[in-house]
Symmetry: C2
Subunit: 256 residues, 2 copies
């Protein structure tokens, strides 16, 4: 006849049955959300079917995202206005969702923005090169100097608009200055001064890894291999490419 004399469950059993941790049961006990039907002599918690059922209820409401305090109220007070609570909670969730949607939009915009900046920069850096070649170069460079490329991207992406356009302009001016020095010897102090500036700019893109000298030389080689890289005011200039490579090689060999 003792219907209530049914099965008793330990914390472990309950946790396995309901898919919660023991810690959770301890917590729920402490905050009075789910108390064991009784304790043993040694204060072991023992739960009955009733508590198991209540836990299911709790988990249901928890799945709705309700805070434990509110769940306690719901389960404790039979007169709790459940519909009102749910509708209020609904509104809160709705605005949270909206907020996330906004964040997603901003993130997408940011990522696009960043990628756009990357392209711009690379176009600037490898001006005159057809897009597919630029891409090929990027792929090549990424394989050969992965660290530099990564650094370059990170650096550019985090730059503010002002910083970025200043960098662009400065770099362009530097190239122009170098072009006007074409009749100087690549090893001349005038050229080497300007090359030092050029190197600084490149370094800003690439950071300062160990093999930057080699990579910098590689860039010079690229100028020669792809004359399109060295286009000043829309006019390709193979002589300039050779000049640059010589100046860059010299710079690396004597300064680094």
């Amino acid at each position: 006849m003792d219907v209530k004399q049914s099965r008793k469950y330990t914390v472990k059993e309950i946790s396995a049955l309901a898919g919660v941790t023991v810690r959770t049961l301890h917590l729920y006990d402490r905050i009075g959300l789910l108390k064991p039907s009784y304790r043993t002599e040694k204060r072991y918690r023992l739960y009955g079917e009733k508590e198991l059922l209540r836990l299911q209820q709790i988990l249901f409401y928890k799945e709705l995202g309700l805070p434990l305090a509110e769940i306690t109220d719901i389960l404790e007070d039979p007169d709790f206005d459940l519909v009102k609570a749910l509708e209020g909670h609904r509104k809160a969730l709705e605005s949270r969702k909206e907020r996330i949607t906004e964040m997603l939009a901003t993130i997408d915009k940011t990522i696009l923005n960043l990628k756009g900046k990357m392209n711009m920069t690379h176009e600037e850096l490898y001006a005159g090169l057809p897009k597919e070649k630029a891409t090929a170069w990027q792929k090549f460079a990424r394989e050969k100097w992965p660290l530099q490329m990564k650094h370059s991207e990170q650096t550019l992406l985090k730059m503010s608009k002002e910083q970025f356009s200043k960098l662009q302009e400065g770099f362009k001016a530097n190239i122009v200055a170098l072009a006007t020095l074409l009749h100087y010897a690549p090893e001349s102090p005038e050229v080497q001064n300007e090359i030092a500036v050029h190197y600084q700019y490149i370094q800003q893109f690439w950071g300062r890894p160990e093999n930057i000298g080699e990579a910098y030389k590689g860039l010079g080689q690229l100028y020669v291999d792809e004359p399109l890289y060295t286009t000043v005011n829309g006019v390709a200039n193979p002589d300039f490419a050779v000049f640059m490579k010589a100046a860059m090689d010299y710079y690396v060999d004597t300064n680094l």
Copy 2:
């Protein structure tokens, strides 16, 4: 010439300029996210333009929902992969949004379920009674017998559809049975048997396992006051109302 010697800002000023609290600045200082450019003799924080700019950056990333620790990494480590971080964060946000969408769906289902059953309960218990009168009576009863009347929505929610419609049908049959006993005395065992069933049904509709005698009597009074309320086969029947009230009163007085 000292470009860097520009303006210095106190915490209050920065907080006003950037729309954050002073506490936030303290926190950012402590976790190394935004340190003042220097401190005065008396350890007052002073920020420069650079820090103000950095704070803007911080707030931007914060708006994206990035945790402060990650923002620190982004701003501190030039090799931090921003795009990857943003894309990862995007995914996390996406799944959080999805989770909320699920919650909303579940909540809507639950509210609908609850409202449906409440309406049905309303229709069964106060059939024929205009809604405003029913509401008025509920309000009255709620105040008069707060512990008895306010029915637990919990109970309704827990009921399965089958259980609920069984309850509905049983109640309807019970009313019909009582109507056929109209020529018996309200105190007669035949009527009292059926009233006992009626009482149980009301108890279930109100979701109350405990004694609701007083409220139950109040319901009987309502029957009399609002004869429309007691319809038999869709026809209002004042005699039935009086009969019911007598039977209900007697039941409560002798059994509870």
